[in-house]
Amino acid sequence: AQSVTQLDSQVPVFEEAPVELRCNYSSSVSVYLFWYVQYPNQGLQLLLKYLSGSTLVKGINGFEAEFNKSQTSFHLRKPSVHISDTAEYFCAVSPRRGSGANNLFFGTGTRLTVIP
């Protein structure tokens, strides 16, 4: 079974400040890791993903995340946030299968609010 914990339900941060959104996961099998962003009244958009290889993953909009296997974490970071980054951020995992359907298991989300 898989589970995802996002430690902060809300993160307020001033514009141009750095931000880190925390994500820890638990799984009995190897997983892929994802961060999705949801802007108000919209669907989910993929920010970045970790499938294999380098543990530092760069995504869209200046975001990056680092996979730490020993700490089972996949924290999301951005060095300087913009007002437009205000949104809900979801960390998710899916078990490695190689074929067929592969369900995503989501954390409860972190609401990032950028303050002018």
């Binding site: 919209q42 989910l44 958009q45 993929l46 359907a101 298991f105």
Partner: protein
Amino acid sequence: DTAVSQTPKYLVTQMGNDKSIKCEQNLGHDTMYWYKQDSKKFLKIMFSYNNKELIINETVPNRFSPKSPDKAHLNLHINSLELGDSAVYFCASSQADNEQFFGPGTRLTVL
């Protein structure tokens, strides 16, 4: 040229009614999914389906049923709607176990 589309965007209905939500993807993906997002924004898988298997989340009531007329469509049919079914429903698709692309969501309100 929307990748994953859903209709309707909003659906308001009475308790006890039967309703369907349609989903279409033009990405050529072989797998489609339905997720439910509750009022606290929590997202949970309901179904996943490709041409070989349908996987049903055991917590989903059997009033919910996916119907796939072809590879590009996975519709969600709900019988005897209840107040607790009010949520936003998202369709998604993927190729094998790669990243999933989500539709814009359907906000269902049961009165």
